[in-house]
């Protein structure tokens, strides 16, 4: 476990937004993540890729924040793609039965290709 201060970065690529949560995803950092996604949703973006490559730990409050984003996107018929998830993160979502509510890709480029072409 690394102890990195949480931060969230993002960028746009075409009609998609890519979010980079970094560190421990808990209540406070989860809220930042929701806000960051909300900014893009507010601008009409419906495709969001969350790249978890630098997320080392998530707790149940962080998970609930992620669900908030899933729900927000579902309400606007948007798509969420999760990429670069560690085995722990994947297993955690698996344990909770959440995998069927998100699209999961090994790496960010796979998710972007899918969002562009509609093909896996």
């Amino acid at each position: 476990m690394k102890s990195v201060q949480f931060s969230v970065a993002s960028r746009r690529e075409g009609d998609a937004a890519i979010i980079y949560p970094k560190g421990y995803l808990n209540n406070l950092s989860g809220e930042n993540l929701v806000i960051e996604c909300g900014i893009y949703i507010g601008k009409g973006i419906t495709k969001i890729v969350v790249n978890f490559s630098e997320t080392d730990l998530i707790n149940s409050i962080g998970i609930s924040m992620l669900l908030q984003i899933i729900e927000d996107l579902r309400n606007i018929k948007g798509t969420i793609c999760c990429t670069n998830m560690s085995k722990l993160l994947r297993d955690t979502f698996e344990m909770l039965g959440l995998m069927q509510h998100m699209l999961v890709f090994p790496v960010e480029s796979d998710a972007l290709t899918y969002l562009k072409t509609g093909k896996l």
Partner: protein, 546 residues
Amino acid sequence: MPFNAIPAEDFLNREPELSYLKGLSKLKANALGGDVFLDGARGMGKTELLKQFYRILFWENNVVPFYYSFKTANLKGTYFAQDYFTGFVRQYISFVKKDPSLASNVAEPLQRLMPAISSLGLYWLIDCIEDFQGHVSKNDFYWQLVAAISAPVMAAQKMGKSVIVMLDDFDAAAHLYESSLGDAHGLISLFGESMRNRRCPHVITGSAGALEPVFTDHSLIGMTERMRLGPLPEDLAMALFRAHLTNLKITCAPGVQLEFLDILRGNPFYIKNLAKAAWKMQKNVIHEKDLIECYSFEVSDGETAFYWASVFSRYVKNPAQRKAMLKLLMHAIENGGIEEGKRLSLVSGLGEAETETLLGALTTSGIIRAKDTVLHDFIHCLYMTEIEGGNANDAREKIEAKYIQEREESFFEMVIPMSSNAELVVAKAVEQIGKNMNLDAEFLNYLQLALIEVCINAIEHSGSYEKKIFLKFITRPDKLEIIVENSGRPFSLESLKEVPVEEKMRLGMKRGWGYKLVHKIMDSVKVERVNDRTRVILTKNIDNGS
């Protein structure tokens, strides 16, 4: 008897106390103090200290020592007076003649000592004896007591040499009676006159709880100071144990660290008994495991068990009370103390008034508050045999198994505040503990996650004013157990409703994932309520391939 002390070289680490006690007569002569209440847990060596002190004074010849034990005294006033008075006379003559055997020979009547007293020129003592016998023949209860108690003062005044009076288990003197128990309260205050005398410092022992009311007696307060007799430090405890073994011709196996002795907490009485148990069990060479075996025998069937059983019998009068006392003591051990209230009569099985009386006796004796693992193990054994119907062998085996298992354990404790990201500190700790156990790194990630969830649940939902989480990590070769405790609102697993994920999503229920994760990760999750605390016990079995 004051002369049956252990050899001075085996009496360790009490030099400062002995040195202070030796200065008592000067302190008293200068009105700077001079009476001492020796305080300390049972078995800590208070009686032994008195005996060692006695022996030193006896041979130094500067101050006359007088030792009296109330432990075995007959508390009927006239018997007591006779015993106390003759005891003093014998010890005095013994001191003057430097003949220890005179002090020990209780069978010899005073009349036979008269020639010796005359030859020593102690005519005032002959007068004293005649006066005492006069009170006896007149059946004068009060003057018999006064004459006996003031005999040391009389001797000090006549000879100009201080007499140090050592009263062992003095609290029993509060129960002195005239013809039937409880018929003459306050006879203990007759000691007040003797204690005030400048030539007679007093050193007393007894239960602190029982002596507190005694010392509210105006005649006894003032010049008495408390001297606390603490446990032997670890190294000296080991040295004492090794000395006992040597005396019993038992050797330690090479490399034996005697770590198990820690459980005895430097109590010389327990240390001696454990060595004797090794001898009784015919051990010639001691290994660490033998200590556990001997200890289990000691607390179930040995001298330590016998000692505590006799202490218990002072406080209970019949089998029903004894069972009730055991139930209360077990309750106190399991709950880390005893709370007030009507519920205790449910525990004891007696009525409220009787339970309260019993609790009062246990509190006065100090037994219920004692943080003494040996006593607790004895209580466990007794509980197993007398309440659960097991036999002494079963009890012994259970104690033995417990400590053999504990030897394989490591134990860590930590307290974290209920503050932001404090759970990460716990996660770091469990990571290192896991590394110490050579646990797989991936597996450790899950463990961290489970622990984080339990901590944030406590932080979020307990409403605790204490705002602290107490954690214990117990590692064994086959198991990791983590105990998480916090005060505040009760919590139970039954209160958690299992809602399918789809339903949660549909209803917009985004929270409530924590314990689901914990259950998935751990092999066992238990939640208990202990007093005002919620205790979560997480267990993970370690298969050595993981």
